[in-house]
Amino acid sequence: MAEITPNSVRYWLFTTNHKNIGILYLVTSFYFLLVGGALALLFRLQLAMPQTEILSASSFNQAVTVHGLVMVLWFLSPLGFALANYIVPLQIGANDLAFPRLNALSYWLYLFGGILAAIGFFTPGGAIDTGWTVYAPLNTAKYSPQVGTTLGALGLLMLIASVTASTVNFLVTIFKMRAPGMRLMHMPMYTWGILLTVFLMLFAFPALAAAGLVLAADRALGTLYFVSQEGGALLWDNLFWFFGHPEVYIVLLPGLFAVAEILPVFARRPLYGKRVIIWATVAASILSLMVWGHHMFTTGVNPLWREVMTVLTETISIPFGVITISFILTLVGASIRLKTPMLFALASLVHFIIGGITGVFNSSVALDYGLRGTYWVVGHFHYTLLGGAATGLIAGLYYWWPKISGRMYDERLGRIHFILYVVGYNLFAFSIHLLIDMPRRVYTYPLESGWLLNNMVATTGALIFGLSFLLLFFNLYRSLRKGAEAGPNPWSSWSLEWLTPSPPPPENYGGQPVVSADGVISITPLPIDGGRHMHVNHLSKAPMLVSLGTFAVFLGLALSMPIALVGLAILAASLIIWARESWSSHHMEGLEFEKWPFQGVEKTRLGVWWLIFGEAVLFSGLILSYLWVRFMSASWPAAGTAFDLTTGAANTFILLTSSFTLVAALAAARLGRHSMVRAGLLTTFALGLVFLLNKALEWAHLFAEGHTFGSSLPFSTFYVTTGAHGAHVLAGLIVLAYLIVRSFRKTEGIHESVESFGIYWHFVDIVWVFLFPLFYLF
C-alpha cells in the first residue's frame, strides 16, 4: 500500500493496530454514551412531573428502547473492549491481537450496526420502540410494523457478528500469545476479566443470534414463530433471556475486574485471594448460563422449574459475596492513596454491593410477583450496571489514561467529577428504587399516585450525573494539551504495560518480554536481524469495506433493494481484497510465546474451534425453537409426509462424502501430493454445491406446491433451520473456493489451512447429521 501519513483519515479508516482500534472503540463508545444519555435525560424530564407532554407516548417508547439498547450494547461493553483492545496485548507481552484485520472488522461492524439501528429514528413510524428486551409478539410485523424495528434487529445482527469476531480473537490471543513464563495465574486481573467475559460471550450471543434470525425471518419472510400462539411470547422469552442473563455478567465483568486491577495498586498491597476470585467468577459465569428463568417467573411456567431457577440464582450471590469480601480484605494493612481511579473503583464496589443485595429480592418468585415490571427492577440493574460496571470502567479509564495518552489528567478536576458523579447518580438511583409501585416504561403518571417526589429527585440526580461527564471530557481533553508528562509508570504498578513508554511505541515492546521462574518480568532485546521487522501498523482496506458492504446490504433489505445490490458488490469486492492482501500471518515474527494451554494447536485452527463452539449454541437455539413449537402444537405432520425422504437422505450421503473427500485432501497434503489435494478440495466443493442445488430444488418444489414460509409452523421451522444450515454450507464453499485458488498458486502452508477449514466443514456436517432425523424421520 502506498505511504499513508499517520493520523490521516485514511490511516484511521484502515488501521489494524490494537492500540488504534482501542482508541476508535473508546471515542465511539463515548459517542454512544452521549446518544443514550441524551435520550435518558429527555425521558427523565418527561417523567419529572405528572401528566407532562414533552414526549408523546410513542416517542417515549422509542427513547427508552434505544436508550437501553445503546447503553448495554453500544456503550458499556464497547468501553470495556476499548480498554481490552489497548491494554490486554500489552499486559500479556504481545504486540497485537491474534487476528488484527478481524479486530478492525469487529470495530467497523460495531459502528455501522449502531448507525443502522439509529437510522430508524428518521424513518416513518420511528425507531424500534418495544423496550430493549423486544418481547414477542409485540416485535412482530403485525404489532410493530414500522421499518425502524427491522433496522434495529438488523443492526443487532451486525453487532453480534462484531462481538463473535472479537470473542474468537481474544480467546486465541490470551491463550496463545502470552510472554514465555507468563502462566495463566500470572496474568493481571483485567486480562482475566476479559478472558472470562469472552467465554460468556461465546456461549450467550449465539442465543440472541438465533432469536434475532428467527425474528428477522418472521418479519421479512413471514414465518410464524413469534406470530403463532404455539411459539409466541414464551419462545422469545426463553431465547432472549438465555442470552440476556449471561449478558449482564458480560457487561459487568470488565468493570469488576478493572476494580480488581486498580485496588491493589492504590492500596499498595497484593489482591487478597486472586486465585479464589478467579475461580469464584468462573463458578458465577457457569451458573449465569443456568438462571435465565428468573426473568420468567410470572409467565406461568412449570412451578418446579421456577424453584430450581430461584435456588440457582440465589447461589450466584455466594461467589459474588466471596469476591466482594476479598476486595475489602485487600484493604487490610494497606496504605491507601485516594487518587481518582481509586475513588471510582471504591464507589463501583459500594454500588455493586447495593445492586447485588437488591438482586436477591428479584431471585424470589414470590417477591417477583410484586416487583416485576416496577421501578425496583430498574433500580437494581442501574445499581449493578451503571453504579457498578460503568463506574468501574471509568475508574479504568482514569487509571490507564496516562498510559494511552502519555499525559496525566488533573487530579483535582477528577475529584470534583467524582463527587458530582456519585451524588448525582445516587440521587437518581436511590429514588428510582423507592418507586416500587410505579410501572416501568410508562410515559406519564397521575398526580394522585404520589410518585412525583421520587421522580423529581431522580431527574435532578440524573441531570447532575449527566453533566458531570462534561468534566470528564474536559479533564481528559485538557490533559492532552497541558497535562504533565506521565512517564512509563506513574502509579508504580507491577504489570507489563507499565514497563514500556507512555504511549507505547507501535511494536509495544522494543524486545521480547519474558517472565522468569521467580516472577520477574523483563524485556530482552531481540537479536538484530537485517531483514526482519514487525509489521505492526499493517493497514488494510478490507475490514472497513466489508462492514460498509454489509451495512448497505442490510439497509437495502429493509428499505430498498438497489441499495442492497450495491452493498453486495462492495461486500464481494472487499472479500476479494481481503483474500488477496499480502498479509503475513507471521507478523509476530521474532516473538516467542508461552506454550500451555492448547499446546500444538495453531492459532487459526484454535480460532476455528472457538467459532464452531459458538455456532453450536446458535444451532441449539434454532433446533430448540423448532422443538418448542412442535411440542406446543396440537398436531404435526407425520414423519415422511411433509418432506421428501429421498432428497433428505441423498443430501445426507452427499455431505458425509464431502467430509470424507476433505479428509482425503488433508491426508494428501500431509504427504505432499498436491494434485491429490486439489482433487480432494474440488470434489468437496462439487459435493457441497450439489447439496445446495438439491436443497434449492427441494424448496422450489415445496413452493410450487404452495408451502411457503408462512404456510404453517412445520414449514416455517423447516425453512429457517435448514436455511440457516444451508447458509453455513454456502459460507464454507466461499472459503473453500479461496482455498482451491490458493492451492493452485502456492502450496506452502496448505496443510494447516485445509485442517482448519476441515474443522468448520465437519461441524456443518455434524449439524446436518442431527437436522436430517429431526426434520425427515421424526
Partner: protein
C-alpha cells in the same frame, strides 16, 4: 388488605431487613478499612507493595471463603423458606374461590368476563371477603395484569390462561394497570377495581 399482600410485605420486609443488615455491615467494613488504612505521610509502603516488573505474591487464606459461603448460604436458606411459603399461598388459595373471572388484556384495556356471561371493560367489580380466581389471558400481545395496591399480578399471554387468586375484605376502589410494555397505549392501559359490599355486588351482578 388481603392475605397475599400481607404475606408479601412480610416477606419483603424480611428480605429488606437481612439485606440492609448485610449491606450496612459490608459497606461499613469497607468504609472502615478505607479510613483506617489511609496512606499517612512519612509512612512507607507495606513490604508486599506492587513492584514494577514483579508478579505480586499470593495473598489470602482459603478459610475465609468457606466461612463466607456458609454465612451467605445460611441467609439464603432462610430467605428461600419464606419465598416458598409465600409462593404456595399465591398458588393455592386457602379457601376455594367462589367465582372465576376471565381477564382479557388487549391493546389497550382490560375486559372482564364473569361466570354468568356478564362482560365489563375498564372496571372490575367484586364482592368483599370473597376469594376469586382470575384466569388471565391476552387478546394480542404480552401484557401484565397487575393490582397496584395489592402488589401482585400475573402475566397475560396470548394463547394461554395464567391463574391467580385474589381476595380482600376492604371495600373501595383500586387500580389495575398493565405492567408490561405493550405499545403506544401502555401507560393508559388501566382499569378500576371496585370492591363492593356483598349485597351491593349481588344487586349489580344479578342472578345466575
Amino acid at each position: 388488605m388481603s392475605e397475599i399482600t400481607a404475606q408479601w410485605f412480610q416477606l419483603f420486609n424480611l428480605y429488606a431487613l437481612l439485606g440492609t443488615v448485610a449491606g450496612v455491615v459490608v459497606i461499613g467494613l469497607l468504609l472502615f478499612n478505607i479510613v483506617r488504612y489511609r496512606a499517612r505521610d512519612g509512612v512507607n509502603d507495606p513490604p508486599d507493595a506492587p513492584t514494577p516488573g514483579r508478579i505480586p505474591p499470593e495473598r489470602g487464606r482459603i478459610g475465609a471463603v468457606w466461612i463466607l459461603t456458609g454465612l451467605v448460604g445460611g441467609i439464603l436458606l432462610t430467605l428461600t423458606f419464606g419465598t416458598i411459603n409465600t409462593v404456595n399461598l399465591i398458588l393455592t388459595p386457602p379457601r376455594k374461590p367462589a367465582m372465576t373471572v376471565e381477564v382479557h388484556g388487549f391493546q389497550w384495556g382490560w375486559k372482564f368476563i364473569y361466570p354468568n356471561g356478564k362482560e365489563t371493560v375498564g372496571e372490575l367489580r367484586l364482592p368483599a371477603g370473597t376469594p376469586v380466581l382470575f384466569k388471565v389471558t391476552s387478546d394480542d400481545v404480552f401484557h401484565k395484569f397487575h393490582l397496584i395496591e395489592f402488589k401482585y399480578g400475573v402475566d397475560a399471554l396470548p394463547g394461554r390462561f395464567n391463574e391467580v387468586w385474589f381476595s380482600t375484605d376492604i371495600v373501595g376502589t383500586y387500580t389495575i394497570q398493565c405492567f408490561e410494555l405493550c405499545g403506544a397505549g401502555h401507560s393508559n392501559m388501566k382499569s378500576r377495581l371496585v370492591i363492593m359490599h356483598p349485597s351491593e355486588f349481588q344487586k349489580w351482578y344479578g342472578g345466575g
